[in-house]
């Protein structure tokens, strides 16, 4: 089953009035359960592509289909619903909410879905237990290491059973051992829960583990 597909995707930014073509005619299709890494040098358009796939940005030209539905012209509120119900995000800088504990961060997106407190607490704890981070439940982000924060971020990304998880340079701020553990975790989620992952990264370790590798260069898919 096709989760996300792009057709002739073009993204042009205005940089101080100068148009910059970040993506040029990208045609891409990702199916359910894939574990995809988009690699390429800085400025190749990895993050731009990920943002477009994640309904965070709109293309200048072309179309994006999410689960068969064209989301290119959807309203902001509809895109927010898609992000909430269908997508999970993992950011380079973890981006946990600093005033919430680990479990509260994980519960946050369930709260947005209107899941009752008791149910979301049970679900968050169960998933944290499964991912081996239960002992972090009551810790605030500033009480956790980078690796621990990113594990919590992964848990937050997958807790609502999304169709697709987008991870933008998730290991960039981690040492190689921690990054390895994190990748193990995501691979396990991919294998056990059949969650689709799309990474953007230029980390060798991430690229080496890719089940499908897409190389971007100057806004074009090179391979």
């Amino acid at each position: 089953m096709e989760i996300v597909k792009t057709e002739n995707l073009v993204k042009i930014y205005q940089d101080n009035g100068v148009p910059v073509e970040a993506l040029k005619m990208i045609n891409l299709s990702v199916s359910k359960g894939e574990y995809v890494v988009i690699a390429g040098p800085s400025g190749s358009g990895k993050t731009t592509l990920l943002n477009l796939l994640g309904a965070l940005d709109k293309p200048t030209k072309g179309k994006i289909y999410f689960e068969g539905e064209d989301i290119t012209l959807k309203e902001k509120s509809d895109l927010a619903k898609i992000r909430l119900h269908k997508l999970g995000f993992i950011f380079q800088a973890y981006n946990l909410i600093p005033v919430l504990s680990a479990i509260e961060n994980i519960e946050f997106s369930m709260m947005l879905l209107g899941i009752p407190e008791k149910e979301r607490k049970e679900k968050a704890l169960s998933l944290m237990d499964e991912l081996g981070i239960k002992e972090l439940a009551d810790k605030r982000p500033n009480e956790m290491s980078g690796g621990q924060q990113q594990r919590v971020a992964v848990t937050r990304a997958i807790v609502n059973n999304p169709s697709l998880v987008l991870a933008d340079e998730p290991t960039a701020n981690l040492d190689s051992v921690t990054a390895g553990h994190l990748l193990d975790l995501m691979e396990r989620m991919n294998a056990e829960k059949n969650i689709t992952f799309i990474f953007s990264s230029h980390d060798r370790q991430v690229i080496d583990r890719a089940k499908r590798l897409i190389i971007l260069k100057d806004g074009l898919i090179e391979s």
């Binding site: 902001k76 898609i82 992000r83 999970g88 909410i97």
Partner: protein, 407 residues
């Protein structure tokens, strides 16, 4: 969870939140104290003036108030007395006669305002008779006895027990004069009145002025000043005389009403300025707090938080801070106002003279009326919400990506 998030967000920058809190506490305390003193003093001034002379309402012949004349007088018959006695809310009533005259003692003469009363009835309506400072007040049965304003006695160079001649133009236009014995003096707190007023029994005055049993006014005291309009309506229905009007204290003394209104407007303008300053303080704090969290907002928008919920969060944070500040401000305001109620601020010097010139007690009183706390709190809540509009709009318009990229 939004509430929990808002509460924790407030305390992530303690210094800034405490400053905002202090601004709300200060504004509410100031507003409650200022409004309390203003309304408390107004109520005291009204009570002082009304209970000193005018009464809470008066029955007069039509046009008497605008153009006083002995001719605009009326007879108090049994039917009117019954009507007054049977009207709910009336505590007491007293007939009065006012006239201008000349008072002489030996070689000294002074223009005077004759204030004729029935002491037994007057004591149910006003309290100036309690201010006797020398001698005594005449009784309802006594005749040819007068009480002078304290200063008038000095001006006439007379003393208690001396006889004075009072000359006045009567009801029929003829001049009447009679001899009266000074039995006492009163302190009225108002120099002008103390230097010109002579009090005499209403029967003595009716005899001097040839008025028969006519009076110029009936002063009335009510149980509750807030029920004045209701009592007036009932009274109009039972009097059944188209030539008579029922005037409230503010009709009898429109200058007092205007002065209090002007003073009230001035106070409200001052409060408005205070609130505007606080509004800018809140706007500044909320804007800073919001702008520095754009990245965080970008993240929560990315994970699907609806923009409107994020806007609610900004409002909840501001409201929590405001409500907490109001709680403290109201508490301190209540303590301060209660203290002033028990320990009024006494004026001296020019302030005292100015207050006395309006027949007021030279003191500032306060009030713990619930409405003061309610209206000040509502005003500050509204101002806080208003100050939030711009920051909330910025949040509402924030794009997730712009937020995430914000540095």
């Amino acid at each position: 969870m939004l509430l929990k998030l808002a509460w924790r967000n407030i305390w992530r920058n303690k210094r800034r939140s405490l400053l905002t809190l202090a601004a709300v506490v200060f504004a509410s305390l100031m507003a409650i104290a200022m409004r309390g003193i203003q309304l408390g003093t107004f109520a005291l001034n009204i009570k002082t003036v009304v209970e000193l002379f005018s009464g809470y309402m008066q029955i007069q012949e039509n046009g008497y108030h605008d153009n006083p004349s002995l001719n605009k007088s009326f007879i108090v018959d049994q039917s009117m007395i019954s009507s007054l006695q049977n009207t709910k809310g009336i505590l007491g009533f007293a007939p009065r006669l006012y006239a201008d005259g000349l008072i002489s003692y030996k070689n000294e003469s002074r223009g005077t305002a004759i204030f004729a009363i029935d002491p037994d009835k007057e004591s149910l309506v006003t309290n100036f008779m309690q201010n006797v400072d020398r001698g005594k007040f005449f009784t309802s049965d006594s005749s040819h006895e007068v009480v002078l304003g304290s200063q008038l006695l000095e001006n006439l160079k007379a003393k208690i027990g001396d006889n004075v001649i009072i000359l006045a133009q009567g009801f029929d236009g003829t001049l009447g004069n009679q001899k009266y014995k000074i039995v006492g003096t009163v302190k009225l707190g108002v120099q002008g009145m103390e230097a010109a007023t002579v009090f005499m029994g209403i029967k003595s005055a009716q005899s001097l002025l040839g008025m028969g049993n006519r009076v110029n006014a009936i002063a009335i005291k009510v149980h509750n000043i807030n029920q004045l309009k209701k009592v007036k309506k009932s009274l109009i229905q039972v009097i059944h005389d188209p030539n008579l009007s029922v005037l409230l204290w503010n009709n009898v003394n429109p200058g007092l009403q205007q002065m209090l209104e002007f003073s009230s407007v001035r106070g409200i303008i001052f409060l408005g300025i205070l609130f505007v300053i606080v509004a800018f303080g809140i706007l500044n704090t909320v804007l800073m707090s919001v702008t520095e969290r754009f990245r965080e907002f970008g993240v929560v928008l990315s994970i699907g938080m609806p923009q409107i919920k994020l806007t609610y969060l900004v409002y909840i944070e501001t409201l929590l801070l405001t409500l907490f500040g109001l709680l403290l401000g109201n508490l301190l305001g209540f303590v301060l106002n209660s203290y002033i109620v028990d320990h009024p601020i006494m004026f001296g010097g020019e302030m005292k003279k100015m207050y006395e010139s309006y027949h007021f007690l030279p003191q500032a009183q306060s009030s713990t009326d619930f409405k003061i706390f309610l209206y000040v709190s509502l005003a500050i809540i509204l101002i806080s919400l208003f100050a939030c509009i711009y920051p909330a709009h910025k949040v509402y318009k924030l794009e997730p990506l712009k937020g995430i990229r914000h540095t």
